[in-house]
């Protein structure tokens, strides 16, 4: 409880999260029917990996089934658009799996033809080098599903000889700085890397007290704990919906040593209709002003 300046006593949110006593009370009052509902909800929220072409589940973790030297994960619309435009356009990628999950914020669908508006989490490997994997994830993976997602994708025997790159966006108001966030020139890129990632990152490191959350944090934590070289590139932007200027902010990553060979060299002269559209169009952001 807290008192406001106007003399009201209100229930303030507690940083302890759910009050332990409330959870205890809830569990004590649970009937067998409540427990069954909880079990069914947990089953509904399970993360499953399957092949859309054959509609069969993957019996083992994705990276236990296939050898992997490089794994690039795009989480969120803008990161996914960046990989689609610059990386997937530069080679032939074959779908190897799809994650099916449900939560209050999104539900992935298992139809073969996805519309851009639908949430998805699809895994590909490069046909010319099948140890290079890519994940396009636009669905929100809830906190109780993140650990399951890691188990289904990475498995219980993590390979230390692969390198992981994660791309995602956060709203610029999440970025803590002594200046006002309104004075920051967004979008801008920041990096977090694990101890075993030896390559210099393509941008400056994320300064304390800033932190990363959700699935990107779950993947990076997993890699840090298991000694896998990994880097997370966070793009801070003021436009969380699909935005061409935000997508372009990821471009410095294209010059990474580990991405050599994955990306076609684009110049203004040889850009085709299939090439990165964002490079040659005026961004809608500029048109607004």
């Amino acid at each position: 409880m807290a008192a406001t300046f106007f003399g009201e006593v209100v229930k303030a949110p507690c940083r302890a999260g759910t009050e332990e006593e409330e959870e205890d009370e809830e569990e004590r009052r649970e009937t067998p029917e409540d427990r069954e509902v909880r079990r069914q909800l947990a089953r509904k929220r399970e993360v499953r990996l399957f092949r859309r072409q054959t509609k069969t589940s993957l019996e083992v973790a994705l990276l236990e089934k296939y050898p992997c030297s490089k794994f690039i994960i795009a989480i969120g619309n803008n990161a996914v658009a960046f990989l689609s435009s610059f990386v997937m356009n530069s080679g032939v990628w074959e779908e190897v799996g799809c994650a099916k999950l449900w939560n209050e914020w999104c539900r992935t669908t298992d139809t073969t033809h996805l519309s851009p508006a639908e949430a998805f989490c699809v895994f590909y490997h490069l046909k010319s080098n099948p140890s290079v994997f890519l994940c396009q994830c636009t669905c929100y993976v809830a906190e109780d599903q993140q650990y399951q997602w890691l188990e289904k994708v990475f498995g219980s025997c993590p390979r230390k000889n692969m390198q992981v790159t994660i791309l995602t966006c956060r709203h610029v108001t999440d970025y803590k700085t002594s200046e006002s966030t309104s004075s920051l020139h967004s979008p801008f890129l920041k990096a977090l890397k694990t101890q075993n990632f030896k390559e210099p990152p393509c941008c400056s490191l994320l300064e304390q007290p800033n932190i990363a959350h959700d699935l990107p944090a779950a993947v990076l934590s997993y890699c840090q704990v298991w000694g896998i070289p990994a880097v997370l590139y966070l793009c801070y932007t003021d436009v969380m919906k699909l935005d061409l200027v935000t997508v372009e902010a990821f471009k410095p990553i294209l010059s990474s040593r580990s991405w050599k060979g994955l990306v076609k060299k684009y110049t203004r002269g040889n850009m085709s209709a299939d090439g990165p559209a964002c490079a040659c169009r005026i961004s809608p952001r500029a048109q607004r002003y």
Partner: protein, 250 residues
Amino acid sequence: MTDNVPAVSVGNVGQLAVDLIISTLNMCKIGYFYTDCLVPMVGNNPYATAEENSAELSTNAEVYSLPSKKLVALQLRSIFIKYKSKPFCEKLLSWVKSSNCAKVIVLSSSHSYHRNDLQLRSTPFRYLLTPSLQKNVESKIKSLNWEEMEKSPCIPEISDSEFCVRVPGGGITKTLYDEGCSKEIPLAVLLKFVSEGDNIPDALGLVEHLNEWLQIIKPRCDDPTASALPWKIPSSWRLLFGSGLPPALF
């Protein structure tokens, strides 16, 4: 060996206190408590003192040690996923038991608005000891004149309710204490009654209180006018209340 563990509790006081201990004693990270019970988060070294050591990645649950003082600290940096707090307590106490710690100290806090009249008039600090620790440290604790956490009605709405230990706002504190009692773990709880707000002074108060017992830091005996012990504020405590304000506001 003493193991210090924070409970994620009101004002995050336990966690702030453990931050102060790790930062001041320059404890070394020796491992991770990798679990599916805590919400994932990562950031760079929260105790960085220079450019060189600022790029070490930190996760949501890490173990630090200071062998010279036989001290180990477990820092928890995020909240529990729903229904996962009890499994976490079981895993934590199982780890503590297997590591043969001489004692475990849980640093925590409790809602100050839950205090009764007697508690309002007394010190804001309280302690609890499991029976297996009581015999070893009770005389030391008594010599410090510390107050034991009072029992309160288990069900406040019922007038003839039984009395038990309750720690409102204490997160997993009560569970750890109860499990510590039943599993015969030498466990102590040290908590402060606090309200949500700027809880840095509460954290400083809690570590000073702990220091009365453990003597982690010796006072500066050469300067009798020094009012406080030299606790080092971690660099990650910057901007606790958000970014700078837009000048246009004024």
